[in-house]
């Protein structure tokens, strides 16, 4: 018996299938849930209509300390190790409140997370303190390019060598919070060619010569409240200090996995919002003398939402926990992205059906969630875990 116990201590630590949240994860979930309920829900509609993301909301959100949490203490942050699962939990809650405003609130993570994971000592020292102050600081990651066949494995933004420097050319679209960011992490095709493992990332200040930043305006079917940016890189000369990770570069597979899981986590929250709206509505709405919830066609649609919200969440947690264990999360992230993409869209679509004509009317949130789901599930990286 003692032999067994010793054995366990050495070999078996933390190798247990578990869905248990830590106490700090529960606190994070509850805090952000409350924030989302209080601050995001009511703003979702007006912000969508007016295509704006209010400064006062972003400032308020800063108190949650989302970006600062994962910054090591040495740079003034919260020093939460890993924390990918915690991020996934938090993003679900933000997505529950409003995926679009939630993504805006969480956008600095798109810059901070890769910096923490891959940045050189110097880069961390230079940039991380921007995010440990008490004001919202916008910085972001630029991935998407203007092609219908866009694929993160085959970027067309290039970074040619010129002496010790690199010269960036290309165009980036749908950059989250791009219109206000002070810095951009621009992803480019690696020197060795396509493929995630070869990806390179460059930290560009907004005023870098050759970089032009435009406000995209309300350019997509959903996520109107998000302030999207468009970048034109017209021979931006990047000194070595701007190349994320220096000579070692970045782990592009990990970075893209983190984005895929981040988007999926937001979509789980959006789906849960649809489910929670459908339940009371279906119980109250009467047709042919009976609550529509008593008709199987409706009840089963809602049961399927309940089933899939669970399934989606566990896939997201699994991928996030693989990132946290520093394993290769590429497959788990692709699976979460694929599954959540399909199911979230279906749930948002069914949500309109449950509400009937009212689902089509802008007094109700269903059509907004439907539009947000459509953009969210095709964007490769609106958030990072």
């Amino acid at each position: 018996m003692p032999q067994n116990a010793r054995h366990r201590d050495v070999v078996y630590s933390a190798r247990v299938i578990s869905f248990a949240l830590s106490d700090s994860q529960k606190v994070a979930r509850d805090t952000v849930r409350e924030f989302a309920r209080r601050e995001l829900r009511d703003r979702a509609r007006p912000c969508d209509e007016e295509s704006r993301c209010p400064d006062e909301l972003l400032e308020k959100s800063w108190a949650l300390g989302l970006a600062a949490a994962c910054i090591p203490e040495a740079y003034g942050g919260g020093g939460v190790e890993g924390g990918h699962t915690t991020s996934a939990i938090v993003l679900e809650e933000l997505g529950y409140g409003c995926a679009s405003l939630g993504a805006a609130v969480a956008a600095p993570m798109l810059f901070v997370r890769p910096l923490v994971d891959f940045g050189t000592e110097e880069q961390k020292r230079d940039y991380l303190p921007l995010f440990t102050g008490d004001r919202y600081h916008a910085a972001t990651l630029a991935l998407h390019e203007p092609r219908f066949t866009f694929d993160p494995c085959a970027l067309e933004t290039t970074a040619e060598r010129r002496g010790a420097n690199r010269v960036l050319r290309g165009e980036k679209r749908l950059v989250p919070m791009g219109a206000r960011a002070s810095h951009f992490l621009v992803l480019a095709r690696g020197e060795r060619g396509p493929g995630l493992a070869n990806l390179e990332a460059f930290i560009l200040p907004r005023d870098a010569p050759g970089l032009r930043v435009h406000d995209e305006g309300d350019t997509t079917i959903g996520f109107q409240a998000m302030s999207w940016g468009r970048l034109t890189l017209d021979g931006v000369e990047a000194p070595p200090a701007w190349k994320l990770g220096g000579d070692s570069g970045i782990d592009g597979r990990r970075l893209i996995a983190s984005l895929r899981v981040g988007g999926a986590a937001l979509a789980v929250g959006l789906s849960r919002a649809v489910l929670d709206a459908c339940v009371p509505y279906a119980k109250e709405r009467v047709a042919f003398g009976q609550a529509i919830a008593k008709k199987q066609a409706i009840a089963f649609m809602i049961a399927d939402m309940r089933i899939e919200v669970d399934a989606m969440r566990w896939l997201v947690w699994k991928a996030a926990s693989e990132l946290e264990e520093r394993g290769d999360a590429t497959r788990a992230a692709a699976i979460a992205q694929d599954y959540v993409g399909r199911k979230a869209m279906k749930i948002a679509d069914d949500g309109i059906q449950v509400f009937g004509g009212h689902g089509f009317i802008r007094d109700f949130p269903l059509e907004l969630w439907f539009r947000n789901a459509r953009l969210l599930t095709v964007h490769e990286g609106p958030a990072a875990v």
């Binding site: 078996y12 247990v16 299938i17 008593k294 199987q296 009840a299």
Partner: protein, 389 residues
């Protein structure tokens, strides 16, 4: 902490179970084609494998908790064929005995293989509509009725049979009774021929004035409450663990089918590039990723239902979610794998077509997919079965 990794020890146990499955696969086709024969108590290959249960019982307390691990075992055991190396000594009725029996009954029949007979020619999903009756006559119950689709009905030494003691009272009047083989009036009347799981016998049973001693009433409670569902709800609780276990069967079939399809395609130079974005995938890749995702999603819902039981939390809804997802992928994934592999994938040279036939039962027994959705919807809306039926 949220984690989905296994200890070394658990990985080894599951690996052994999978190896056992592989070793016995060569007999699978034979019993598929010779449905009239019962597989032996033990296959010769069994000797090469030490009993897994020993090792399972000795697992360190700090490893993945037991109910969750049972789900993993279930998925591994069902990875391909349902044919066990050694016939399990117990059957579904034993789960009911353990859940509802008195200590004395558990002692008496604990080692007796008991099947479970609920379904009748006139009702399956609607189990409260059973017509089989049990009438107290002196110190005996007299049972009359017909049961169908009883798994292990041929092989088992006895059966837990559901009967009503008061047809007026619906659910509350339903009790279950242990009837042993050889009891006068109890007969096996038929062995079914099936689409799949042909190595598992499925029987019809008849009870004609079949007398069993009074203390064969499971749980021993003879009263019929005027209100509520009596012991029925308690009996249904048995299924909170068996439903995810059946979900695990579905996942096992899906997993085996995918592994087969992926290996077959890799042999011809086709494999998933997990890095590529969703729209850069070929049709075959997209379909594979989708099925991988579906199988993984189902498997996590099964684990979740087990984990809640381990944590001592209510898992009624999650048990149904696991059963519904497992049932779904047992249909869609083997079907999709054959679709991917084309006509050669449907050939009886391979076991894939068999896994499709075997897996198809998963969305039917232990409550169909529709019944699981009813359970989930009622829980969500707070409806009774009368309000949402």
């Amino acid at each position: 902490m949220v984690d989905f990794r296994l200890s070394q020890n658990d990985t080894e146990i599951l690996e052994q179970v999978r190896r056992e499955g592989l070793a016995v696969r060569k007999h699978a086709r034979y019993f598929d084609e010779h449905e009239e024969e019962l597989p032996p108590e033990k296959f010769p290959e069994a000797d090469a494998f030490p009993g897994v249960s020993e090792r399972v019982n000795r697992r360190p307390a700090g490893d993945t908790p037991p109910a969750t691990f049972q789900m993993l075992l279930g998925m591994a055991r069902q990875w391909g064929d349902t044919l066990p190396l050694r016939q399990p000594p117990l059957a579904l009725g034993n789960a009911a005995l353990q859940a509802a029996g008195t200590p004395e009954q558990k002692q008496r029949w604990g080692a007796t293989a008991l099947s479970m007979a609920i379904t009748e020619p006139g009702c399956g999903s609607d189990s409260k509509a059973i017509k089989t009756t049990a009438r107290l006559d002196g110190e005996h119950w007299v049972i009359n009725g017909e049961k169908i689709f009883v798994t292990t009905g041929i092989r088992a030494q006895g059966v837990v049979v559901w009967a009503t003691v008061d047809a007026q009272r619906g659910r509350a009047g339903i009790k279950s009774f242990v009837v042993l083989k050889g009891t006068p009036g109890f007969e096996v009347t038929r062995k079914e021929k099936k689409l799949g799981i042909r190595a598992s016998d499925t029987a019809a049973l008849s009870f004609i004035d079949c007398r069993v001693p009074r203390d064969h009433l499971l749980g021993g409670d003879e009263t019929v409450p005027r209100q509520g569902s009596g012991g029925f709800r308690g009996v249904m609780k048995t299924f909170n663990m068996t439903r995810p276990a059946v979900g695990a069967i579905g996942v096992g079939k899906a997993r085996a089918s995918l592994d087969f399809a992926e290996e077959a395609l890799a042999g011809e130079g086709v494999a998933v590039d997990w890095e590529r974005g969703r729209r850069a995938r070929s049709t075959i890749e997209a379909k594979l990723v989708q099925m991988e995702a579906d199988a993984e999603a189902a498997s996590l819902t099964v684990l979740r239902a087990g984990w809640l039981a381990d944590a001592g939390e209510e898992n009624n809804v999650e048990a149904s979610i696991a059963k519904a997802k497992g049932g779904e992928v047992s249909r869609t994934v083997p079907q999709g794998c054959i679709e991917l592999l084309g006509a050669m994938g449907a050939s009886r040279e391979h076991l894939l077509e068999k896994w499709l036939r075997d897996g198809r039962i998963t969305d039917i027994y232990e409550g169909t997919g529709q019944i699981q959705r009813l359970i989930i919807a009622r829980a969500i809306f707070g409806y009774s079965s009368e309000e949402l039926g």
